[in-house]
C-alpha cells in the first residue's frame, strides 16, 4: 500500500493517500475520480499499458468483498474493471495459470458482483479457469500469488475454499445443471435468492448443457443463464497455422444472432412506415421483432425459446453500463422463468499479446507483462504428448486408415500436429466426449482405425459409451489417455486417477502403459496393430526421461501381454506399471547404496497380465511390491486377484501394493503431490526396508 500511494503522490501532488479502509474515504476518493482515473496508465487509444511492476489499483484496494462494490458508480465500475485486469495480468505473469479466459470476463464479473448479493445469490462459473476476477473480488486477492500452488488457492472455484464459490467446476458444461438444482432447492425451501449460471459457447457444445436447458425450460424456475460467447469452442480455437473457425453448427447460429442486418433493416423500415401512417412505433417494432426473429435471426434465439428459455441479447460483454442495466432489469422482474442472456466477449480482451496470439494465451507459464513473452523452460526431452503425436503421425503415414479424434483439445492432446499433417483425418467434435467415443465406434465398424485422444479424467464423461458402444461390441477403438495419474497445478478436477480401474475391468479391453517415451511409441504401434478388440494406453503429464527413440519415431508392436525385467536382484521384486517404473528404478538405486539388490520389472500390460512374469516373480522372491499411479481397483488389484486365484498367496510370499491413497490429492507441484500421495522413490524404498525388517533405516531415508 505504501509504494502505491507514494507512486500516486509522486504523480498527483494534491491526491491524499488513503489511510484506512472506510466509507468516508470512498466518498473522498469519488470526489477525486478524475485524478484516480489517471492511476492506470493508458496509451492514446485508451488501452492499458502493462508493466512488470505492481500496478496501482487504488479502487480495487478498497474492495475486499462484493458488498464493498454496491455503491460504486458506473464510471467507478469501469475503473475497477481496468484495475482488476491489470491485477490479473500482473499476478498470472508471476505464477502462471489461465490468463485470457479471465480477461474476457472481467466486466461480467464486476457487473455480476455489483448487481447481485453473493454469497446468498449464487453465481456458478461453468469452467472455472475464468474465475480469477471472481476470486479477486471475493476476498482472495491477497492470496492470488499462491494460485495453483501447493497449499494455495485452487485454480478453479472450490466450495471448500470459499463460500462465494457456489460449485466446484473444472470440467465444463455443468453450470446450468448445478444452477437448476440450486434454483429448485431454493423454491422448495422458500428462499428468495437469485441463481446465475455462466456458461461459454464452447461449453454449450456438450450434451449436458442441453439436458439442463431442456429440464429448466420444463420446470420453468427463475434462473439466469449467461451465455458467454467469445467464439472459442476448442482449446485453442486455432490450428498450428493460425486461428480457426469454431467447430460446430451452434457457433454459426450464435454468429447470426449477433449480426442480423436484415432484421435491423426490417425494423427500421417498419418504424419509418409507422411514422408515416401513424400509430405506436414501439408496438409495431416489437411485433416485427417477434415475427422476424423466427424468420431472420434464425436458429439461435428460437433454439433457446423452443427449449422454454427467454432469450435476451446479444449484449456487449465489455460494456459495464449495458451489463449492469440488463442484469438489474432481469433481477427486478417478479417471475421471468429461466432467462438466457447472450453476452459477447473477446477472450483475452484488454491485453494485446493475448488478443493477438492464436491460442489467445489460454494457459501460460510465467511471462513478461509488457510483451507477453512466456518464460518457457528449455528441456532436453519433449512432452509425452508430443511423442505421442509424433508416433501417431508415423503410423498414419503408412496406414491410411488411421484417424484421430479429440474433444476440443487439439493443443492439449497433440492432435493439432496430426491435424496439420492429415487435415481430413482429424476430427474435433467439440466438448462432447460421449459423442466422440460413439463416433469412433461408428468409424471402427467401417474398418477405419480410430485413435481417440481424450484426457484420462475427461473420458470419465464418456464411460458408458466406452462400455456399451465400444467394449461390448468389441470394436477396435484405440484410446490414448493423456494426463494419467497426478497432474500437478490443475488439481483433483483434472487428475487421471481412475482410468486403470475403469478400463481394466472391461472384459474385452487391452490395457497397457508405457514406462518411458520409447515404450510409448511402441505402444502406439501396438494399438494400431490390435484390430480385433478395443485397446488403451495411458501416459502422464510431463516430459520424457531421455531414452533413445526408435528410428524415425516409428514404434514396433510389442507382443501383447508381455512385460519386461529391467533389473535383476534377489529376495525383493518391484513390479511397476506405467511411468512410475522410473520411480521404482530410483528406489532401486537408493537401496543398492544400502547393499540391497532388488528386481525391478515393468509390467507394461494390465490386461492381459503377463502371467508367466508375475508367477516367476512370485516364486523367486520373498517380497513382491506392485506399484501404480492409480486408484485402488487397478493394476495392483488385478495382480493380487491373479496371485490369489493361482495359490501364490498361500505360501511365504509377502505381497504389498502401493497405489494412490483413498482421497483426493490437492493441487500443487508434481513433486509435492507425489510426496503427499506416498509414491516417491523414498516411500518405495522405505516400504522395502520395513518389509526386510530394517525399519530404522527406513525412517532415516532422505
Amino acid at each position: 500500500m505504501e509504494t502505491s500511494s507514494s507512486l500516486m503522490s509522486a504523480t498527483l501532488p494534491f491526491f491524499k493517500a488513503p489511510s484506512c479502509k472506510s466509507r468516508k474515504r470512498q466518498v473522498a476518493m469519488r470526489a477525486n475520480a478524475d485524478e484516480k482515473k489517471m492511476a492506470i496508465r493508458k496509451d492514446n487509444d485508451g488501452k492499458i499499458i502493462f508493466s512488470s511492476e505492481k500496478p496501482p489499483t487504488p479502487l480495487l484496494d478498497t474492495i475486499n468483498y462484493p458488498v464493498h462494490m454496491k455503491n460504486l458508480s458506473h464510471q467507478e465500475l469501469e475503473q475497477l474493471a481496468d484495475e482488476v485486469r491489470t491485477e490479473i495480468v500482473y499476478t498470472v505473469s508471476k505464477t502462471g495459470g489461465h490468463l485470457s479466459s479471465s480477461l474476457g470476463v472481467v466486466e461480467l464479473s464486476v457487473a455480476l458482483h455489483h448487481v447481485f448479493n453473493t454469497p446468498e445469490d449464487k453465481i456458478i462459473w461453468d469452467v472455472g479457469h475464468q474465475a480469477y476476477p471472481h476470486k479477486i473480488l471475493t476476498g482472495r486477492r491477497s492470496k492470488m500469488h499462491t494460485i495453483r500452488q501447493t497449499s494455495g488457492l485452487a485454480g478453479f472455484p472450490k466450495r471448500e475454499e470459499s463460500i462465494y464459490d457456489a460449485f466446484g467446476v473444472g470440467h465444463s458444461s455443468t453450470s446450468i445443471s448445478a444452477g437448476l438444482g440450486m434454483a429448485v432447492a431454493r423454491d422448495l425451501l422458500g428462499k428468495k435468492n437469485h441463481v446465475i449460471a455462466v456458461i461459454g459457447d464452447g461449453a454449450m457444445t456438450a450434451g449436458q448443457a442441453y439436458e439442463a436447458m431442456n429440464n429448466s425450460g420444463f420446470l420453468n424456475t427463475n434462473m439466469i443463464i449467461i451465455l458467454n460467447d467469445n467464439k472459442q469452442v476448442s482449446l485453442p480455437t486455432a490450428t498450428l497455422d493460425g486461428p480457426a473457425t469454431p467447430v460446430g453448427a451452434l457457433s454459426k447460429a450464435l454468429t447470426k444472432l449477433q449480426s442480423s442486418t436484415k432484421l435491423r433493416k426490417l425494423r427500421e423500415a417498419a418504424k419509418t412506415l409507422t411514422k408515416q401512417i401513424g400509430g405506436s412505433t414501439h408496438e409495431v417494432a416489437a411485433k416485427v421483432d417477434e415475427y422476424a426473429r423466427g424468420m431472420i435471426s434464425a436458429s439461435g434465439a428460437t433454439l433457446f425459446e423452443e427449449l422454454g428459455l427467454y432469450y435476451i441479447g446479444p449484449v456487449d460483454g465489455h460494456n459495464i453500463d449495458d451489463l449492469v442495466t440488463v442484469l438489474e432489469k432481469v433481477k427486478s422482474m417478479p417471475a421471468p422463468g429461466p432467462v438466457v442472456i447472450h453476452v459477447v466477449t473477446e477472450k483475452g480482451k484488454g491485453y494485446s499479446p493475448a488478443e493477438a496470439a492464436p491460442d489467445k494465451m489460454h494457459g501460460v507459464v510465467k511471462f513478461n507483462p509488457q510483451t507477453g513473452k512466456q518464460f518457457k523452460a528449455k528441456s532436453a526431452t519433449l512432452s509425452y504428448t508430443q511423442y505421442f503425436a509424433n508416433a501417431l503421425i508415423e503410423e498414419a503415414e503408412v496406414d491410411s486408415k488411421i484417424v484421430g479424434i479429440h474433444a476440443a483439445m487439439g493443443g492439449g492432446t497433440g492432435l493439432n500436429y496430426f491435424q496439420k499433417k492429415f487435415p481430413e483425418r482429424c476430427f474435433d467434435v467439440g466438448i462432447a466426449e460421449q459423442h466422440a467415443v460413439t463416433f469412433a465406434a461408428g468409424l471402427a465398424t467401417e474398418g477405419l482405425k480410430p485413435f481417440c485422444a481424450i484426457y484420462s479424467s475427461f473420458l470419465q464423461r464418456g464411460y458408458d459409451q466406452v462400455v456399451h458402444d465400444v467394449d461390448l461390441q468389441k470394436l477396435p477403438v484405440r484410446f490414448a489417455l493423456d494426463r494419467a495419474g497426478l497432474v500437478g497445478a490443475d488439481g483433483p478436477t483434472h487428475c487421471g486417477a481412475f482410468d486403470i480401474t475403469y478400463m481394466a475391468c472391461l472384459p474385452n479391453m487391452v490395457v497397457m502403459a508405457p514406462s518411458d517415451e520409447a515404450e510409448l511409441m511402441h505402444m502406439v504401434a501396438t494399438a494400431a496393430a490390435i484390430d480385433d478388440r478395443p485397446s488403451c494406453f495411458r501416459f502422464p503429464r510431463g516430459n520424457g526421461v531421455g531414452v533413445p527413440l526408435p528410428p524415425g519415431n516409428k514404434g514396433t508392436p510389442i507382443e501383447i501381454g508381455k512385460g519386461r525385467i529391467l533389473l535383476e536382484g534377489n529376495r525383493v521384486a518391484i513390479l511397476g506399471y506405467g511411468s512410475i517404473v522410473q520411480t521404482c528404478m530410483k528406489a532401486a538405486t537408493t537401496l543398492w547404496n544400502q547393499g540391497i539388490y532388488i528386481t525391478v520389472a515393468d509390467a507394461r500390460f494390465c490386461k492381459p497380465l503377463d502371467r508367466s512374469l508375475i508367477t516367476s516373480l512370485a516364486k523367486e522372491h520373498e517380497i513382491l511390491l506392485t506399484v501404480e499411479e492409480g486408484s485402488i481397483g487397478g493394476f495392483c488389484s488385478h495382480v493380487s486377484h491373479f496371485l490369489s486365484l493361482n495359490g501364490h498367496l498361500d505360501g511365504n510370499l509377502k505381497l504389498r501394493s502401493i497405489v494412490l491413497p483413498d482421497r483426493y490429492i490437492d493441487h500443487g507441484s508434481p513433486v509435492d503431490q507425489i510426496e503427499e500421495a506416498g509414491l516417491s522413490s523414498r516411500h518405495i524404498a522405505a516400504t522395502v526396508l520395513s518389509l526386510l525388517g530394517r525399519p530404522k533405516e527406513a525412517l532415516q531415508l532422505q
Binding site: D187, D289, D322, K329, P336
Partner: protein, 193 residues
Amino acid sequence: MTTVAGGGIRLGGGGSLLRFSGDHPRHGHRHRSNHVSFRTWATVAGRETTRPSSLSFYDLLGITTRDGSEEVKKAYKRMARKYHPDVSPPDCTEEHTKLFIEVQEAYETLSDPSRRAEYDKQLARGFTRFAFTGRAARHYDPEMESKAEWRNRWQDQISELQKRSAMKENICDENLSWAARMRLKRAAQASID
C-alpha cells in the same frame, strides 16, 4: 445561399454560437427521442434546435432533401469555391473557413447514401446537426452501429419480458409448470401469513 448569410451564423469573436457537448445523451441532456446513438451534438446559441429550418446540411449547400447526388456534388463545388479561404475576402476569412469546413462535412454526409439516410432520420426528429469529434466522424463505423442496434434490441426484449413476468399465473391453468405451481403456493402462503 440566402438563409445563412447575415443573421444565421455569427461565428468568431466571443462566444461561439456552436457549442459541442461531450456528454452522452443519457446523462441528463434534454432531447426529443431516446434512440439517439450519437455521442455528441451541437446546441446552437445554448438552445436546442427543434426546427429543421436553421442550418441543416441541406441549407448549407443550398439544396433540398429531394436533390440527388449530382445536385449535392454541384452544390458542394459551388459552396466550396465560395468559402475557400484562398478566395474569400480578407475580413471574412475566419468565418468563411469555418463555413468551408462545415460545407465539407455536409458534403461528406450527404454524398454517402447510408450516412445521408441517417442524417435524414435525425432531421426528421428535429436535429439539424450532429457534430462528431474523434474517430466516429471519419467514416461509417459498422461496429458502433451494431452495438447500438444490440442495445435497442435487448431493451425491447427486456420490456417484453417485464410484461410477461408481470402477468399473473392462473392457478386454474392445467399446464402449469412446476415452478409456477411453487410460486403460487408461496404466494398463497404469504398472503395467509
